[in-house]
């Protein structure tokens, strides 16, 4: 069973989506490592190292996602998991912005996949499967 690290980054306490993601991915057959809300980049990375997870799903709902996610890829590289898959979703920036631009910003920051607001986790499942070579 492959492990997936999930959590909500930064000073963000939105817990509902996180619980739904845990439930859905567990049902889909993954070993879900949920580090919960108010998690730092380090929390995510440590959890991934510990459980040998090939993928990290970062949630950010509250608007500070851009600040909170900066440098995360570099930290992964430093920690020796430079090729871990990084997904991010939720309401990752402040306000209604053109999502093409937002995506580019996060891709530049080293995220492999970037989801617009309200994308239900079910819709991301096929991406996960594909990226994990399943």
């Amino acid at each position: 069973m492959k492990s997936i690290v999930i959590g909500v980054i930064g000073a963000d306490v939105h817990a509902v989506g996180n619980k739904i993601i845990e439930y859905t991915l567990t049902n889909a057959g993954y070993n879900v490592v949920n580090i919960g809300v108010l998690s730092t980049q380090e929390d995510f990375i440590h959890a991934a190292i510990e459980t040998n997870a090939p993928i990290i799903l970062v949630s950010s709902l509250y608007g500070h996602g851009e600040i909170d996610c900066r440098g995360m890829r570099a930290k992964c590289i430093e920690s020796g998991i430079g090729d871990v898959l990084l997904y991010v979703g939720g309401n990752i920036v402040v306000g209604k912005q053109d999502f093409q631009e937002v995506r580019e910003r996060f891709v530049k920051m080293g995220f492999n996949r970037v989801y617009p607001p309200g994308t239900p986790i079910d819709e991301a499942l096929s991406d996960i499967r594909r990226d994990l070579g399943e």
Partner: protein, 489 residues
């Protein structure tokens, strides 16, 4: 702090002693305008039309539902522009939503956020960092507009924030030791937050003692997600009692719309009734209680027309429930912090409905009475549980009740919340409970809930499980109230 937590008014000395430390939390705490005499003098100059407490009391007497949006941006001038726009759109009260760094007392990051926002000409923070802006900044806000101002946040330790905003003439502060902890924090103990909010309330009590009316508003909706009314009402009543003990005289208890019209009206009515009852019962008699109805607090539909539909539908229910105030949402809700324009649209649509319906009330009827009686029974049951485990002390009772899961809030991030209960809708869309954990309900009440959920599951021809809860969480943003199973979609 060495004294054990108790629901007892802080002595003036203890308060002033603690105050020194609070004000030293960030550089803006040393502003001379934070001198209490100067602050009182300033607050005396705030006209009644900008006094939250007075405007609410008048609205209650008139039977009107006033409207208030949420809004806050990091840069002062931009924030003022935003509030002016909302006022022009018809907001009866303006808010100032505080950013999430300030909520965690991370003032350094907030400072960076202000700078970066100014440089990049777009908001990098999700609110207005009032502590960083200090008394002068907050007064500039108040002076730029003509209606009362309130801070809205979600801050476990809002002591410094409260000091600054009140000294700046903002006459209301949202929050409470439970409601700004359980949904907003992960590892801050309830003991700590109740203490912090006793301080915040004691500050308001100080002002009341000096003839300044200030409103306090426990945050009613909690996680905003399928919270059964009896649970949020119980929390509101506990916070009202805790605030009253510290000398607060003007309290607005809140509720987040559930979606079943009768349950929503019943919730607002019982909230007012039982809050007043409990305050009287415990000897707080000179307190003005008003209510606030939050438009749908869960996940919103992405489509702006649908979102506006939901906003106006919420307003219809709020107006008929005779809530004193309503917190509005915007058509951008599901996407992100709204532009001033989108926020103003939400205010306009909401205000229009509330004004149109101002002379109407939801009629008394047996369905409503039944739901009210049910909520009252449940609240009494939970309040008793709290006071029993507290051995008569409410503050202690709250801490222990959460510890033991006698009080439990669904979907809350806090590790001091048991997180064992699972809510789901019944066949009429009322929020009921599917899994009780250790919730302080009597067996009779549990039977009622079980029966209601069983009825729905039978109708949908599927087993009673967490899937009901999940489907209900997702339902509204997909245009349904009840997350029906495949059979009945």
């Amino acid at each position: 702090m060495t004294t054990p937590l108790r629901n007892r008014k802080m002595s003036l000395e203890d308060f002033l002693e603690e105050r020194k430390q609070v004000l030293s939390g960030w550089k803006t705490g040393s502003d001379p305008d934070l001198d209490l005499d100067r602050a009182v003098a300033y607050l005396r100059t705030v006209p009644d039309s900008k006094n939250f407490a007075k405007k609410l009391a008048a609205a209650k007497a008139d039977g009107r539902t006033l409207v208030q949006p949420r809004a806050g941006v990091p840069v002062l001038e931009e924030h003022i522009k935003l509030l002016r726009h909302l006022q022009a759109s018809g907001a009866d009260f303006v808010p100032t939503t505080i950013d999430s760094y300030t909520r965690q007392n991370r003032y350094v990051e907030a400072e960076n956020g202000i700078k970066e926002s100014a440089e990049q000409h777009r908001a990098m923070l999700n609110g207005f960092p009032a502590v960083n802006h200090g008394v002068a900044g907050c007064r500039a806000v108040l002076e730029a507009i003509d209606v009362p101002v309130q801070a809205r946040h979600g801050t476990p330790d809002a002591r410094l924030l409260a000091e600054i905003i009140h000294a700046a003439g903002w006459t209301s502060n949202e929050g409470g030791g439970i409601s700004y902890n359980i949904p907003y924090a992960k590892s801050v103990s309830l003991e700590t937050t109740i203490r912090n909010w006793q301080y915040v309330d004691r500050l308001v009590g100080y002002y009341e003692d000096h003839g300044i009316s200030i409103n306090r508003e426990p945050f009613g909706p909690l996680t905003g997600t399928l919270v059964p009314p009896s649970i949020s009402n119980t929390v509101a009543i506990c916070e009202a009692l805790l605030a009253a003990e510290q000398g607060v005289k003007n309290i607005t208890v809140g509720y987040g719309m559930g979606g079943n019209v009768i349950q929503d009206v019943a919730a607002i009515r019982t909230l007012l009734k039982q809050t007043e009852q409990y305050l009287h019962k415990y000897g707080y008699r000179d307190i003005v209680v008003t209510t606030v109805f939050h438009q749908w607090m869960g996940g919103f539909p992405a489509d702006e027309a649908e979102a506006t539909g939901l906003i106006a539908m919420s307003s219809t229910v709020a107006a008929l429930s005779k809530a004193t105030k309503m917190i509005t949402k915007s058509p951008h809700e599901s996407i992100g912090i709204p532009t001033a324009e989108a926020n103003g649209l939400g205010v306009k649509a909401s205000k229009f409905v509330c004004t149109l319906l101002k002379d109407q009330v939801f009629p008394d009827c047996s369905a409503l009475n039944k739901e009210m009686a049910q909520i009252e029974r449940e609240v009494d049951c939970l309040m008793t549980a709290v006071l029993v485990v507290g051995e008569g002390d409410l503050a202690v009772g709250v801490v222990r009740a959460f510890e033991q899961g006698l009080l439990d809030v669904p979907f809350a991030p806090s590790k001091f919340n048991a997180g064992k209960i699972l809510p789901a809708r019944d066949n009429d869309g009322c929020i009921r409970i599917l899994e009780f954990g250790n919730l302080g309900f009597s067996e009779e009440i549990k039977q009622f809930h079980r029966g209601k959920i069983a009825e729905r599951a039978a109708y949908e021809k599927r087993p009673i499980s967490f899937q009901l809860t999940i489907d209900d969480v997702n339902a509204v943003s997909r245009g349904q109230l009840i997350g029906r199973g495949k059979e009945k979609r």
